[in-house]
Amino acid sequence: MDFTLNEEQTMIVDMVRKFVQQEIIPLEKDLDPDADEVDHDTYVKLVEKTKAMGLYGLDTPPEYGGPDISMVTRTLIAIECSQHRAGLYVPCYNAFGGARQAQLFEATDAQKEKYLYPMLKGEKKVFFGLSEPSGGSDPARAIQTKAVRDGNDHWVLNGTKLWISGADRADYGLVFARTGGEGRSGVTAFIVETDWPGFNVTRVVHTLRSAKYATEIHIENLRVPHENILGEEGGGFAIANDRLARQRVPYAAECLGVAIRAHEMAVEYSKIRETFGATLSSRQGIQWMLVENEIDLRSARLLVLDAAAKCDKGLPFRTESAIAKLVCAENGFRVVDRSMQIHGGLGVAKDLPLERWFREMRIRRIGEGPSEVQKHVIARDIIGASLR
Protein backbone atom coordinates (compact mmCIF):
# COMPACT_ATOMS: atom_id res chain seq x y z
CA MET A 1 0.00 0.00 0.00
CA ASP A 2 1.52 3.27 -1.08
CA PHE A 3 -0.44 6.25 0.08
CA THR A 4 1.97 8.91 -1.06
CA LEU A 5 -0.13 11.92 -2.00
CA ASN A 6 -0.03 12.95 -5.64
CA GLU A 7 0.47 16.58 -6.65
CA GLU A 8 -3.24 17.39 -6.73
CA GLN A 9 -3.91 15.75 -3.37
CA THR A 10 -0.97 17.59 -1.78
CA MET A 11 -2.34 20.87 -3.07
CA ILE A 12 -5.87 20.14 -1.83
CA VAL A 13 -4.69 19.03 1.61
CA ASP A 14 -2.57 22.19 1.97
CA MET A 15 -5.46 24.35 0.85
CA VAL A 16 -7.95 22.78 3.26
CA ARG A 17 -5.46 22.84 6.13
CA LYS A 18 -4.90 26.57 5.61
CA PHE A 19 -8.64 27.13 5.39
CA VAL A 20 -9.15 25.42 8.77
CA GLN A 21 -6.27 27.25 10.40
CA GLN A 22 -6.94 30.70 8.96
CA GLU A 23 -10.72 30.81 8.60
CA ILE A 24 -12.26 28.34 11.04
CA ILE A 25 -10.13 28.17 14.18
CA PRO A 26 -10.04 31.98 14.65
CA LEU A 27 -13.86 32.04 14.50
CA GLU A 28 -14.10 29.58 17.36
CA LYS A 29 -12.39 31.94 19.79
CA ASP A 30 -15.64 33.90 20.01
CA LEU A 31 -18.11 31.04 19.71
CA ASP A 32 -19.58 29.01 22.53
CA PRO A 33 -17.39 25.92 23.05
CA ASP A 34 -20.38 23.78 22.11
CA ALA A 35 -21.39 25.86 19.08
CA ASP A 36 -22.49 23.93 16.02
CA GLU A 37 -23.12 26.79 13.63
CA VAL A 38 -21.89 30.23 12.67
CA ASP A 39 -24.09 33.19 11.81
CA HIS A 40 -25.56 33.31 8.32
CA ASP A 41 -23.28 36.03 6.91
CA THR A 42 -20.17 34.25 8.11
CA TYR A 43 -21.43 30.98 6.67
CA VAL A 44 -22.04 32.59 3.28
CA LYS A 45 -18.50 33.99 3.25
CA LEU A 46 -17.04 30.59 4.16
CA VAL A 47 -19.02 28.91 1.39
CA GLU A 48 -17.77 31.47 -1.13
CA LYS A 49 -14.25 30.39 -0.22
CA THR A 50 -14.88 26.66 -0.52
CA LYS A 51 -16.59 27.28 -3.86
CA ALA A 52 -13.55 29.26 -4.99
CA MET A 53 -11.43 26.25 -4.03
CA GLY A 54 -13.68 24.07 -6.19
CA LEU A 55 -14.53 21.92 -3.20
CA TYR A 56 -18.12 22.86 -2.35
CA GLY A 57 -20.54 19.95 -2.16
CA LEU A 58 -17.97 17.30 -1.28
CA ASP A 59 -20.53 14.50 -1.15
CA THR A 60 -22.43 15.57 -4.22
CA PRO A 61 -21.69 13.57 -7.38
CA PRO A 62 -19.97 15.58 -10.16
CA GLU A 63 -23.01 15.24 -12.45
CA TYR A 64 -24.99 17.20 -9.84
CA GLY A 65 -22.35 19.89 -9.42
CA GLY A 66 -20.03 18.37 -6.82
CA PRO A 67 -16.24 18.23 -7.21
CA ASP A 68 -14.82 15.32 -9.17
CA ILE A 69 -12.61 13.83 -6.48
CA SER A 70 -11.66 10.28 -5.56
CA MET A 71 -12.61 8.65 -2.28
CA VAL A 72 -8.96 8.84 -1.19
CA THR A 73 -8.99 12.59 -1.75
CA ARG A 74 -12.37 12.87 -0.01
CA THR A 75 -10.87 10.99 2.93
CA LEU A 76 -7.81 13.23 3.08
CA ILE A 77 -10.10 16.27 3.09
CA ALA A 78 -12.17 14.77 5.91
CA ILE A 79 -9.02 14.26 7.97
CA GLU A 80 -8.13 17.95 7.56
CA CYS A 81 -11.64 19.43 7.82
CA SER A 82 -12.27 17.99 11.25
CA GLN A 83 -9.22 19.45 12.97
CA HIS A 84 -11.00 22.12 14.96
CA ARG A 85 -13.29 22.24 17.99
CA ALA A 86 -16.58 21.56 16.21
CA GLY A 87 -14.90 19.46 13.54
CA LEU A 88 -16.16 16.03 14.45
CA TYR A 89 -19.85 16.63 13.80
CA VAL A 90 -19.79 19.94 11.91
CA PRO A 91 -16.55 19.99 9.96
CA CYS A 92 -15.82 23.61 9.01
CA TYR A 93 -19.40 24.45 10.03
CA ASN A 94 -20.63 22.77 6.84
CA ALA A 95 -18.81 25.25 4.62
CA PHE A 96 -18.01 22.35 2.28
CA GLY A 97 -21.68 21.68 1.73
CA GLY A 98 -22.70 19.66 4.75
CA ALA A 99 -24.31 16.27 4.83
CA ARG A 100 -26.32 15.09 1.85
CA GLN A 101 -28.98 12.45 1.76
CA ALA A 102 -27.16 10.44 -0.87
CA GLN A 103 -30.14 8.12 -1.24
CA LEU A 104 -32.01 10.92 -3.03
CA PHE A 105 -29.71 10.59 -6.02
CA GLU A 106 -31.71 7.42 -6.70
CA ALA A 107 -34.95 9.44 -6.98
CA THR A 108 -37.19 9.69 -10.03
CA ASP A 109 -36.93 12.79 -12.20
CA ALA A 110 -40.08 14.24 -10.64
CA GLN A 111 -38.80 13.54 -7.12
CA LYS A 112 -35.46 15.11 -7.99
CA GLU A 113 -37.18 18.29 -9.15
CA LYS A 114 -39.30 18.51 -6.04
CA TYR A 115 -36.85 17.33 -3.40
CA LEU A 116 -33.27 16.74 -4.53
CA TYR A 117 -32.49 19.97 -6.37
CA PRO A 118 -33.90 22.27 -3.65
CA MET A 119 -31.78 20.34 -1.15
CA LEU A 120 -28.65 20.77 -3.27
CA LYS A 121 -29.36 24.49 -3.59
CA GLY A 122 -29.70 24.73 0.18
CA GLU A 123 -33.35 25.76 -0.10
CA LYS A 124 -34.74 22.72 1.70
CA LYS A 125 -33.52 20.74 4.67
CA VAL A 126 -33.86 17.00 4.92
CA PHE A 127 -33.64 14.29 7.59
CA PHE A 128 -32.94 10.55 7.46
CA GLY A 129 -35.51 8.48 9.39
CA LEU A 130 -34.20 4.96 9.76
CA SER A 131 -33.59 4.15 13.46
CA GLU A 132 -36.42 3.24 15.80
CA PRO A 133 -36.68 2.53 19.54
CA SER A 134 -36.32 -1.15 18.58
CA GLY A 135 -32.86 -0.51 17.08
CA GLY A 136 -30.90 1.12 14.32
CA SER A 137 -28.00 -1.16 13.51
CA ASP A 138 -30.15 -3.92 12.08
CA PRO A 139 -32.89 -2.03 10.26
CA ALA A 140 -34.00 -5.05 8.26
CA ARG A 141 -35.31 -6.61 11.46
CA ALA A 142 -35.78 -3.60 13.73
CA ILE A 143 -38.12 -1.47 11.65
CA GLN A 144 -41.61 -1.60 13.08
CA THR A 145 -43.08 1.52 11.49
CA LYS A 146 -45.83 0.21 9.25
CA ALA A 147 -47.06 1.46 5.93
CA VAL A 148 -50.39 0.16 4.71
CA ARG A 149 -51.68 0.80 1.23
CA ASP A 150 -54.83 2.92 1.05
CA GLY A 151 -56.32 2.60 -2.42
CA ASN A 152 -54.04 3.03 -5.41
CA ASP A 153 -52.66 6.43 -4.64
CA HIS A 154 -51.68 6.53 -0.98
CA TRP A 155 -50.00 4.76 1.91
CA VAL A 156 -50.79 5.28 5.60
CA LEU A 157 -47.80 5.25 7.94
CA ASN A 158 -47.77 4.63 11.71
CA GLY A 159 -44.79 4.25 14.03
CA THR A 160 -41.98 5.92 15.95
CA LYS A 161 -38.51 6.98 14.89
CA LEU A 162 -35.72 7.73 17.35
CA TRP A 163 -32.24 9.33 17.21
CA ILE A 164 -33.22 11.34 14.15
CA SER A 165 -31.07 14.43 13.61
CA GLY A 166 -32.58 17.57 12.15
CA ALA A 167 -36.16 16.35 11.83
CA ASP A 168 -37.51 19.38 13.69
CA ARG A 169 -35.90 21.77 11.22
CA ALA A 170 -36.36 19.75 8.06
CA ASP A 171 -38.78 20.36 5.21
CA TYR A 172 -38.94 16.69 4.32
CA GLY A 173 -37.21 13.43 5.09
CA LEU A 174 -36.72 9.81 4.20
CA VAL A 175 -38.80 7.51 6.37
CA PHE A 176 -38.27 3.77 6.19
CA ALA A 177 -41.34 1.68 6.91
CA ARG A 178 -42.40 -1.92 6.69
CA THR A 179 -44.69 -2.55 3.73
CA GLY A 180 -44.24 -6.29 3.61
CA GLY A 181 -43.18 -9.15 5.82
CA GLU A 182 -40.08 -9.58 7.96
CA GLY A 183 -36.59 -8.97 6.67
CA ARG A 184 -34.99 -6.80 4.04
CA SER A 185 -37.54 -7.11 1.30
CA GLY A 186 -40.30 -5.83 3.56
CA VAL A 187 -38.87 -2.32 3.96
CA THR A 188 -39.76 0.63 1.74
CA ALA A 189 -38.37 4.18 1.72
CA PHE A 190 -40.86 7.07 1.62
CA ILE A 191 -40.22 10.76 1.07
CA VAL A 192 -42.29 12.47 3.74
CA GLU A 193 -42.97 16.19 4.08
CA THR A 194 -42.79 17.43 7.66
CA ASP A 195 -45.87 19.64 7.49
CA TRP A 196 -48.17 16.79 6.54
CA PRO A 197 -50.78 15.90 9.19
CA GLY A 198 -49.65 12.97 11.30
CA PHE A 199 -45.96 13.86 11.30
CA ASN A 200 -44.90 15.02 14.77
CA VAL A 201 -41.46 15.68 16.23
CA THR A 202 -42.29 15.07 19.87
CA ARG A 203 -39.07 15.64 21.76
CA VAL A 204 -35.42 16.53 21.73
CA VAL A 205 -33.12 13.72 22.87
CA HIS A 206 -30.30 15.18 24.96
CA THR A 207 -26.98 13.34 24.79
CA LEU A 208 -23.27 13.84 25.45
CA ARG A 209 -23.25 15.70 22.16
CA SER A 210 -24.64 18.88 23.58
CA ALA A 211 -24.07 20.93 20.44
CA LYS A 212 -26.50 19.07 18.24
CA TYR A 213 -29.46 16.99 19.23
CA ALA A 214 -31.40 14.05 18.00
CA THR A 215 -35.20 13.93 18.01
CA GLU A 216 -38.02 11.48 18.40
CA ILE A 217 -40.73 11.36 15.74
CA HIS A 218 -44.25 10.02 16.16
CA ILE A 219 -45.99 9.11 12.94
CA GLU A 220 -49.72 8.73 13.26
CA ASN A 221 -51.93 7.96 10.28
CA LEU A 222 -49.60 9.88 8.01
CA ARG A 223 -50.87 9.72 4.43
CA VAL A 224 -48.09 9.57 1.87
CA PRO A 225 -48.68 9.58 -1.90
CA HIS A 226 -47.57 6.42 -3.69
CA GLU A 227 -45.40 8.58 -5.95
CA ASN A 228 -43.32 9.45 -2.89
CA ILE A 229 -41.84 5.99 -2.63
CA LEU A 230 -38.10 6.29 -3.19
CA GLY A 231 -36.89 3.46 -5.37
CA GLU A 232 -39.09 0.40 -5.42
CA GLU A 233 -41.63 -0.95 -2.99
CA GLY A 234 -39.65 -3.33 -0.78
CA GLY A 235 -36.38 -1.80 -1.96
CA GLY A 236 -35.86 0.50 1.01
CA PHE A 237 -33.21 -1.60 2.71
CA ALA A 238 -31.03 -1.63 -0.37
CA ILE A 239 -31.39 2.15 -0.65
CA ALA A 240 -30.45 2.62 3.01
CA ASN A 241 -27.62 0.13 2.88
CA ASP A 242 -25.98 0.79 -0.47
CA ARG A 243 -24.31 4.00 0.48
CA LEU A 244 -23.58 3.18 4.12
CA ALA A 245 -20.21 1.60 3.37
CA ARG A 246 -19.26 4.62 1.31
CA GLN A 247 -20.33 7.17 3.92
CA ARG A 248 -18.50 5.26 6.63
CA VAL A 249 -15.08 6.09 5.15
CA PRO A 250 -15.11 9.91 5.55
CA TYR A 251 -17.00 9.39 8.84
CA ALA A 252 -14.04 7.33 10.09
CA ALA A 253 -11.57 9.86 8.71
CA GLU A 254 -13.16 12.64 10.75
CA CYS A 255 -12.44 10.65 13.93
CA LEU A 256 -8.84 10.41 12.82
CA GLY A 257 -8.61 14.16 12.09
CA VAL A 258 -9.74 15.13 15.57
CA ALA A 259 -7.39 12.58 17.12
CA ILE A 260 -4.44 13.90 15.11
CA ARG A 261 -5.08 17.41 16.42
CA ALA A 262 -5.47 16.17 20.00
CA HIS A 263 -2.16 14.31 19.70
CA GLU A 264 -0.39 17.36 18.30
CA MET A 265 -1.68 19.39 21.21
CA ALA A 266 -0.44 16.76 23.65
CA VAL A 267 3.02 16.72 22.08
CA GLU A 268 3.26 20.52 22.19
CA TYR A 269 2.00 20.70 25.76
CA SER A 270 4.31 17.95 26.99
CA LYS A 271 7.29 19.98 25.84
CA ILE A 272 6.36 23.12 27.78
CA ARG A 273 4.66 21.76 30.89
CA GLU A 274 7.05 21.09 33.75
CA THR A 275 6.48 18.93 36.80
CA PHE A 276 9.01 18.31 39.55
CA GLY A 277 11.67 20.20 37.65
CA ALA A 278 11.37 18.54 34.25
CA THR A 279 9.12 18.72 31.22
CA LEU A 280 6.39 16.14 30.78
CA SER A 281 7.99 15.08 27.52
CA SER A 282 11.06 13.88 29.43
CA ARG A 283 8.97 11.44 31.49
CA GLN A 284 8.83 7.90 30.21
CA GLY A 285 5.22 7.54 31.30
CA ILE A 286 4.24 10.45 29.05
CA GLN A 287 6.51 9.34 26.22
CA TRP A 288 4.83 5.96 26.12
CA MET A 289 1.42 7.60 25.98
CA LEU A 290 2.57 9.68 23.03
CA VAL A 291 4.02 6.60 21.35
CA GLU A 292 0.75 4.75 21.80
CA ASN A 293 -1.05 7.74 20.29
CA GLU A 294 1.29 7.71 17.31
CA ILE A 295 0.76 4.00 16.69
CA ASP A 296 -3.01 4.34 17.03
CA LEU A 297 -3.04 7.21 14.55
CA ARG A 298 -0.76 5.64 11.97
CA SER A 299 -2.64 2.35 11.94
CA ALA A 300 -5.99 4.16 11.67
CA ARG A 301 -4.69 6.30 8.80
CA LEU A 302 -3.49 3.29 6.83
CA LEU A 303 -6.75 1.44 7.31
CA VAL A 304 -9.04 4.31 6.36
CA LEU A 305 -6.98 5.09 3.25
CA ASP A 306 -6.98 1.38 2.37
CA ALA A 307 -10.79 1.37 2.46
CA ALA A 308 -10.89 4.52 0.34
CA ALA A 309 -8.42 3.11 -2.19
CA LYS A 310 -10.42 -0.12 -2.57
CA CYS A 311 -13.56 1.96 -3.15
CA ASP A 312 -11.76 4.00 -5.84
CA LYS A 313 -10.61 0.82 -7.58
CA GLY A 314 -14.15 -0.49 -7.69
CA LEU A 315 -13.26 -3.41 -5.44
CA PRO A 316 -15.53 -4.68 -2.64
CA PHE A 317 -14.76 -2.57 0.42
CA ARG A 318 -17.52 -3.30 2.92
CA THR A 319 -15.12 -5.13 5.25
CA GLU A 320 -12.47 -2.45 4.82
CA SER A 321 -14.90 0.38 5.60
CA ALA A 322 -16.14 -1.48 8.69
CA ILE A 323 -12.54 -1.97 9.86
CA ALA A 324 -11.78 1.69 9.18
CA LYS A 325 -14.83 2.86 11.11
CA LEU A 326 -14.07 0.56 14.01
CA VAL A 327 -10.36 1.40 14.26
CA CYS A 328 -10.69 5.15 13.69
CA ALA A 329 -13.41 5.48 16.34
CA GLU A 330 -11.73 3.24 18.92
CA ASN A 331 -8.17 4.47 18.33
CA GLY A 332 -9.32 8.05 18.03
CA PHE A 333 -11.14 7.87 21.35
CA ARG A 334 -8.05 6.45 23.06
CA VAL A 335 -5.85 9.16 21.56
CA VAL A 336 -8.17 11.94 22.73
CA ASP A 337 -8.36 10.32 26.18
CA ARG A 338 -4.57 10.08 26.53
CA SER A 339 -4.13 13.63 25.23
CA MET A 340 -6.63 14.82 27.82
CA GLN A 341 -4.71 12.97 30.54
CA ILE A 342 -1.45 14.61 29.49
CA HIS A 343 -3.11 18.03 29.76
CA GLY A 344 -4.25 17.32 33.33
CA GLY A 345 -6.94 19.68 34.64
CA LEU A 346 -6.75 21.81 31.54
CA GLY A 347 -7.76 18.80 29.49
CA VAL A 348 -11.18 18.59 31.09
CA ALA A 349 -11.85 22.35 31.00
CA LYS A 350 -13.95 23.93 28.29
CA ASP A 351 -11.03 26.28 27.60
CA LEU A 352 -9.62 23.60 25.30
CA PRO A 353 -11.49 21.52 22.71
CA LEU A 354 -10.39 18.22 24.25
CA GLU A 355 -13.41 17.82 26.53
CA ARG A 356 -15.81 18.31 23.60
CA TRP A 357 -13.86 15.87 21.47
CA PHE A 358 -13.84 13.36 24.32
CA ARG A 359 -17.65 13.50 24.62
CA GLU A 360 -18.23 13.41 20.90
CA MET A 361 -15.64 10.71 20.21
CA ARG A 362 -17.41 8.55 22.76
CA ILE A 363 -20.54 8.82 20.63
CA ARG A 364 -18.57 7.96 17.48
CA ARG A 365 -17.94 4.50 18.93
CA ILE A 366 -21.72 4.00 18.75
CA GLY A 367 -22.97 6.21 15.90
CA GLU A 368 -23.13 4.85 12.32
CA GLY A 369 -22.96 1.33 13.71
CA PRO A 370 -21.32 0.56 17.07
CA SER A 371 -17.89 -1.07 17.12
CA GLU A 372 -19.50 -4.40 17.96
CA VAL A 373 -21.72 -4.19 14.89
CA GLN A 374 -18.67 -3.42 12.74
CA LYS A 375 -17.04 -6.55 14.20
CA HIS A 376 -20.17 -8.49 13.32
CA VAL A 377 -19.97 -7.24 9.72
CA ILE A 378 -16.27 -8.09 9.51
CA ALA A 379 -16.75 -11.52 11.07
CA ARG A 380 -19.57 -12.33 8.67
CA ASP A 381 -17.35 -11.45 5.73
CA ILE A 382 -14.24 -13.32 6.86
CA ILE A 383 -16.12 -16.42 7.92
CA GLY A 384 -18.15 -16.41 4.75
CA ALA A 385 -15.16 -15.89 2.45
CA SER A 386 -11.38 -16.10 2.33
CA LEU A 387 -9.36 -13.18 3.68
CA ARG A 388 -7.93 -12.80 0.17
Binding site: D32, P33, D34, A35, D36, D168, R169, T194, N200, V201, T202, R203, V204, H206, T207, S210, A211, K212, Y213, T215, H218, K350
Partner: protein, 112 residues
Amino acid sequence: MSIRLDKPWIEFSKQSIDRLTGHLGVYQLANAGKEIIYIGVAGARSRFGLRGELQKWLELDDIATSFFRLEVTMAYKTRHAELLQIFLYDFKRLPLANKNLNVKSMGRLNVG
Protein backbone atom coordinates in the same frame (compact mmCIF):
# COMPACT_ATOMS: atom_id res chain seq x y z
CA MET B 1 -36.60 14.60 32.94
CA SER B 2 -39.62 16.80 32.38
CA ILE B 3 -39.70 18.34 28.94
CA ARG B 4 -41.04 21.61 30.30
CA LEU B 5 -39.14 23.61 32.89
CA ASP B 6 -41.66 23.17 35.70
CA LYS B 7 -39.62 24.32 38.68
CA PRO B 8 -41.12 26.85 41.09
CA TRP B 9 -40.65 30.52 40.31
CA ILE B 10 -38.17 32.46 42.45
CA GLU B 11 -38.41 36.15 43.20
CA PHE B 12 -36.19 38.16 40.85
CA SER B 13 -34.10 40.00 43.44
CA LYS B 14 -30.44 40.68 44.10
CA GLN B 15 -30.63 38.64 47.26
CA SER B 16 -31.88 35.48 45.57
CA ILE B 17 -29.68 35.84 42.49
CA ASP B 18 -26.48 36.42 44.48
CA ARG B 19 -27.07 33.09 46.18
CA LEU B 20 -27.03 31.17 42.90
CA THR B 21 -24.16 28.98 41.80
CA GLY B 22 -22.00 29.59 38.72
CA HIS B 23 -23.16 26.47 36.91
CA LEU B 24 -24.04 26.35 33.24
CA GLY B 25 -27.67 25.92 32.27
CA VAL B 26 -30.88 27.53 31.12
CA TYR B 27 -33.29 29.95 32.74
CA GLN B 28 -36.63 31.63 32.25
CA LEU B 29 -37.70 35.12 33.25
CA ALA B 30 -41.33 35.97 33.99
CA ASN B 31 -43.43 39.07 34.61
CA ALA B 32 -45.61 39.69 37.65
CA GLY B 33 -48.30 37.44 36.17
CA LYS B 34 -45.72 34.62 35.87
CA GLU B 35 -45.85 34.73 32.11
CA ILE B 36 -42.55 33.78 30.52
CA ILE B 37 -40.95 36.81 28.91
CA TYR B 38 -37.48 35.44 28.19
CA ILE B 39 -35.74 32.09 27.85
CA GLY B 40 -32.01 32.38 28.32
CA VAL B 41 -28.88 30.29 28.47
CA ALA B 42 -25.72 30.44 30.55
CA GLY B 43 -23.17 28.89 28.23
CA ALA B 44 -19.50 28.18 28.76
CA ARG B 45 -18.57 31.73 27.80
CA SER B 46 -20.63 33.05 30.71
CA ARG B 47 -18.19 34.31 33.30
CA PHE B 48 -20.20 33.18 36.31
CA GLY B 49 -22.68 30.84 34.70
CA LEU B 50 -26.33 31.19 35.70
CA ARG B 51 -25.57 33.64 38.50
CA GLY B 52 -23.60 35.87 36.13
CA GLU B 53 -26.29 35.85 33.46
CA LEU B 54 -29.07 36.68 35.90
CA GLN B 55 -26.99 39.40 37.53
CA LYS B 56 -26.67 41.00 34.10
CA TRP B 57 -30.46 41.03 33.79
CA LEU B 58 -30.70 42.51 37.27
CA GLU B 59 -28.50 45.41 36.23
CA LEU B 60 -30.21 46.20 32.98
CA ASP B 61 -33.69 44.88 33.60
CA ASP B 62 -35.73 46.63 30.97
CA ILE B 63 -38.41 43.97 30.62
CA ALA B 64 -40.01 44.22 34.08
CA THR B 65 -38.92 40.85 35.38
CA SER B 66 -40.53 39.67 38.60
CA PHE B 67 -39.59 35.99 38.72
CA PHE B 68 -37.05 33.55 37.39
CA ARG B 69 -36.40 29.84 37.44
CA LEU B 70 -33.51 27.79 36.16
CA GLU B 71 -32.14 24.39 35.37
CA VAL B 72 -28.48 23.42 35.68
CA THR B 73 -27.40 21.41 32.65
CA MET B 74 -24.26 20.81 30.62
CA ALA B 75 -26.48 20.31 27.59
CA TYR B 76 -27.37 23.98 27.76
CA LYS B 77 -27.47 24.53 24.01
CA THR B 78 -29.85 21.72 23.17
CA ARG B 79 -31.99 22.37 26.25
CA HIS B 80 -32.26 26.06 25.34
CA ALA B 81 -33.36 25.15 21.83
CA GLU B 82 -35.88 22.70 23.25
CA LEU B 83 -37.41 25.23 25.68
CA LEU B 84 -37.79 27.79 22.91
CA GLN B 85 -39.49 25.22 20.71
CA ILE B 86 -41.85 24.19 23.51
CA PHE B 87 -42.82 27.84 24.04
CA LEU B 88 -43.33 28.21 20.31
CA TYR B 89 -45.61 25.17 20.35
CA ASP B 90 -47.58 26.45 23.36
CA PHE B 91 -48.01 30.09 22.28
CA LYS B 92 -47.29 30.11 18.51
CA ARG B 93 -44.72 32.83 19.12
CA LEU B 94 -41.47 33.40 21.00
CA PRO B 95 -41.22 35.10 24.41
CA LEU B 96 -41.28 38.89 24.06
CA ALA B 97 -37.63 39.41 24.91
CA ASN B 98 -36.51 36.61 22.55
CA LYS B 99 -38.08 38.33 19.57
CA ASN B 100 -34.68 38.92 17.94
CA LEU B 101 -34.41 35.18 17.26
CA ASN B 102 -35.39 33.92 13.84
CA VAL B 103 -38.41 31.64 14.20
CA LYS B 104 -37.91 30.24 10.71
CA SER B 105 -34.50 28.87 11.61
CA MET B 106 -35.83 27.12 14.69
CA GLY B 107 -37.13 23.60 14.91
CA ARG B 108 -40.75 22.62 15.42
CA LEU B 109 -41.78 20.31 18.22
CA ASN B 110 -45.22 18.88 18.77
CA VAL B 111 -45.09 18.12 22.47
CA GLY B 112 -48.79 17.60 23.00
